[in-house]
């Protein structure tokens, strides 16, 4: 599986029909498209709008849909009340740690499974894949106990970056993905490299890695998205010190019973960076999300 999305030229679109019926169909299609877009976009749209309104306008009827005098102070309030600066830092650091960990371990493991021979390789591969069958929600309670009192070392990692990142530094899915990607490296390249006296490490980082860059990028995006959106684990393993953006948002919503505009501003702040990132890395996102779903 090459994990490349087909270009427009090779996509099979339904054959165009000729005739007057086409105008009707096209209009219908556009109407439906617009309607669906409105419905889907509405919650995000109203969030942005409400983040710029005073509470009285939000509660006022009929509702306001366009902020005439945007109240930008809501954003400052959100930033301060939710300590969003710190929360974003925590989330960024945690996510980067997780992404780095997953990329590194998946890269190495994927290469090993694809190119290296070692005893028990098959068994170890199964061990990797089996982790995908144990959802985190099943083991989070025990993980919490382990974090508070690491066996052998006896240290308490509650409310630390280590606790946030450690359980997710490796992923069976990532190893599987990278292995598949490495397997598509043409064997003549390997032979040429061997003839040139390339050891495995050099081959990996000089030749193989650049070739699997698309898959790696997909993994990065997918990994980052999951890490950023995490809710359950940060909830049970952090206290005041390492509140992530998602937790800060939830706490803000609980505290601000009346000032919902501030909560909405916080929501926008929490989402914007991600939205920007995803727009830029759209292709990688699609690859990452569809990896395994579609052949070819």
């Amino acid at each position: 599986m090459t994990a490349e999305t087909a270009t427009d030229a090779t996509i099979a679109y339904p054959p165009r029909r000729r005739g007057g019926g086409r105008v009707v169909r096209t209009t219908l299609r556009y109407a439906l498209l617009t309607f669906c877009s409105a419905v889907i976009l509405f919650p995000l749209y109203i969030t942005v709008v409400n983040s710029l309104l005073p509470v009285s306008k939000i509660a006022g009827r009929p509702p306001t849909f366009v902020p005439v005098e945007p109240q930008w102070s809501n954003y400052a309030d959100a930033w301060n009340q939710g300590s969003l600066g710190r929360a974003i830092t925590v989330s960024v650091v945690m996510s980067m740690l997780i992404v780095a960990g997953q990329v590194l371990t998946s890269l190495l493991a994927g290469y090993a499974f694809a190119f290296l021979a070692f005893p028990l390789k098959r068994t170890i591969f199964v061990i990797f894949l089996a982790t995908m069958m144990i959802p985190f929600e099943v083991i989070f309670v025990s993980n919490r106990q382990v974090m508070s009192d690491i066996p052998v070392l006896g240290i308490n990692l509650y409310d630390t970056y280590a606790a946030l990142a450690l359980p997710f530094l490796a992923t069976g899915f990532g190893a599987f993905l990278l292995r598949q990607a490495f397997l598509t490296v043409p064997s003549d390249l390997r032979d040429a490299a061997r003839l040139d006296g390339f050891g495995h490490l050099r081959f990996l980082f000089r030749i193989a890695l650049p070739l699997v860059r698309p898959t790696l990028a997909a993994l990065v995006v997918f990994s980052f998205l999951s890490a950023w959106a995490q809710y359950l684990w940060p909830l049970v393993i952090t206290g005041e010190g390492h509140e992530t953006v998602q937790l800060a948002l939830a706490n803000l919503k609980n505290r601000n019973i009346s000032t919902v505009n501030v909560t909405f501003a916080a929501t926008v702040i929490a989402t914007l960076p991600l939205a920007a990132l995803l727009i830029v890395f759209q292709k990688q996102l699609v690859r990452g999300l569809t990896a395994g779903a579609v052949k070819g």
């Binding site: 098959r122 068994t123 199964v126 061990i127 089996a130 069958m133 106990q145 308490n156 509650y158 409310d159």
Partner: protein, 475 residues
């Protein structure tokens, strides 16, 4: 692939299981049997003397707005008055959250020195072995604990040991709208004193307001009215001579209470409101209800709201408060106290709280209970001044004479007999058990369940909760 997968998983699981089994600590729990340490731990005042000052004391509480301000003022004045201890307050969302965090903190190390916990936490805190009983320091310093009014003392004393220092004590009372009473032809100075009188008053009030009674879906109706009937809620002397193992409300008194509420509901005299918040009192303020039951600690918020003009049609003179009506005229018990109390946290084996911090907690707790400070805190909030000295303070006396409804809760807990019933129930996982009561009440109201069945089901589920709780301590 499937076979290999399964085989590897099986092998791996067996391996890991044996590792985990070896690492698991199989202490057959012997410690869970005796509930109270045979000898009280020492009050670590000496540690405070010799510690490097200032000692930092973290206090967890869940007081909102007005009460928070009052507490903060006291903390500030304490910090200003001496340099050995510095108190910092950390606000939690509600009582439940404080206790949950405390329990977690025993493993994670995130612990305060002093925590304001709900009245129902008593058994849980005893079993946690994570608090220093106030009795230790009361004994060590000869603290005049007898100044504290009887029912408050008795509520928090289990098997002869006072566990927390009482602080913010309240009591549920009946709020009513005097103006609506007059309009309905009732005497506003003679509000109902029994269930029967309440029902007939409500029927008359129907002429003035469609659903006269705003019933918050609170769990304490069964608890308190059983106590008013002088009946215990759980066995083993209301859980005070030994840990409670069964509930005792599945009897005529309990069924009578639930039936009465159901009757009011079926007759359209009653509208339910959620447990969180004060929507029921808001409804009264907006003239959608004439009567409601709630904690006395809400008076302060209500008065502030009324005087602040939040309810243009509700004048302060309309606000009436009276003790809870009795189920029958011959009910010879009384209500037990509610609210919260101050627990000195000692931590767990893996995460102990330093002794000087515990001593600091005791010191601050006694400061909070000095008559002037008690009076100031209780003052306009609706909490009850828990010592006679505090009750006699000028602030209190003045508040009572200007706003008589503040005195209702105090009178309610200082009149009547002292018995096991009025001491109040002590049981493990009380908060969980209360959810059962609320659920059964909801079934009764919205799904037409028979009151007798609701009470019986509540008893069955409550007993299961108690069994589970006790089993987890090996008893």
């Amino acid at each position: 692939m499937n076979a290999r997968l399964a085989r590897t998983v099986a092998l791996g699981a067996a391996l890991a299981l044996s590792i985990a089994a070896c690492s698991g600590n199989s202490d057959e729990s012997s410690g869970g049997g005796g509930r109270v340490p045979s000898e009280l731990p020492e009050c670590p005042l000496a540690a405070l003397e010799s510690a490097t000052k200032p000692v930092a004391l973290k206090m967890w509480h869940s007081f909102p707005e007005e009460n928070l301000k009052a507490l903060q003022a006291l903390a500030d004045s304490f910090n200003a008055s001496q340099s050995d201890i510095v108190v910092s307050l950390e606000q939690q969302a509600k009582y439940d959250d404080t206790l949950t965090k405390l329990t977690s903190g025993l493993s994670t190390g995130d612990l305060p020195g002093l925590a304001v916990l709900e009245d129902t936490a008593t058994q849980t805190m005893i079993d946690s072995r994570a608090v220093l009983p106030a009795q230790s320091c009361v004994d060590a310093t000869d603290y005049p604990i007898d100044d504290v009014i009887a029912r408050v003392r008795e509520y928090y004393t289990v098997d002869g040991v006072l566990w927390p220092m009482p602080f913010n004590t309240s009591n549920p009372i009946m709020y009513f709208n005097k103006d609506m009473f007059t309009k309905a032809g009732l005497d506003p100075e003679k509000p109902p004193t029994t269930f029967a009188e309440l029902k007939s008053a409500a029927e008359k009030l129907k002429a003035v307001v469609p659903t006269p009674i705003a019933l918050k879906l609170d769990p304490w109706y069964l608890e308190q009215w059983l106590a008013v009937d002088n009946e215990p809620y759980v066995n083993n002397d209301n859980g005070r001579s030994k840990p409670a193992t069964e509930v005792e409300f599945n009897n005529d008194s309990g069924i009578e209470i639930f039936s009465f509420l159901d009757e009011l509901h079926d007759a359209g005299l009653l509208q339910t409101y959620p447990r969180d918040g004060f929507d029921n009192l808001l409804a009264m303020g907006q003239l959608q209800a004439a009567i409601s039951f709630d904690t006395s600690a809400a008076i302060g918020t209500a008065v502030t709201a009324i005087e602040g003009g939040l309810f243009p049609d509700f004048q302060l003179s309309y606000l009436g408060a009276t003790p809870l009506p009795k189920p029958d005229a011959d009910s010879d018990g009384g209500t037990f106290i509610a609210g919260g109390a101050l627990y000195i946290v000692s931590g767990s084996n893996s995460n102990p709280v330093p002794p000087e911090v515990q001593a600091a907690a005791w010191t601050f707790a006694t400061y909070l209970n000095e008559p002037v400070n008690q009076a100031q805190f209780a003052g306009r909030s609706g909490y009850i001044p828990i010592t006679e000295a505090a009750a006699n303070e000028p602030i209190t006396q003045q508040t009572w004479s200007t706003y008589p409804f503040y005195k209702v809760a105090y009178d309610q807990v200082t009149t009547g007999p002292e018995s096991t019933a009025t001491a109040g129930p002590v049981m493990g996982n009380f908060a969980e058990q209360r959810k059962v009561i609320i659920a059964q009440m909801q079934s009764m109201f919205s799904q037409g369940k028979e009151p007798a069945t609701a009470v019986a089901d509540a008893a069955t589920e409550s007993n299961q909760i108690l069994r589970d709780y006790n089993a987890s301590f090996g008893r």
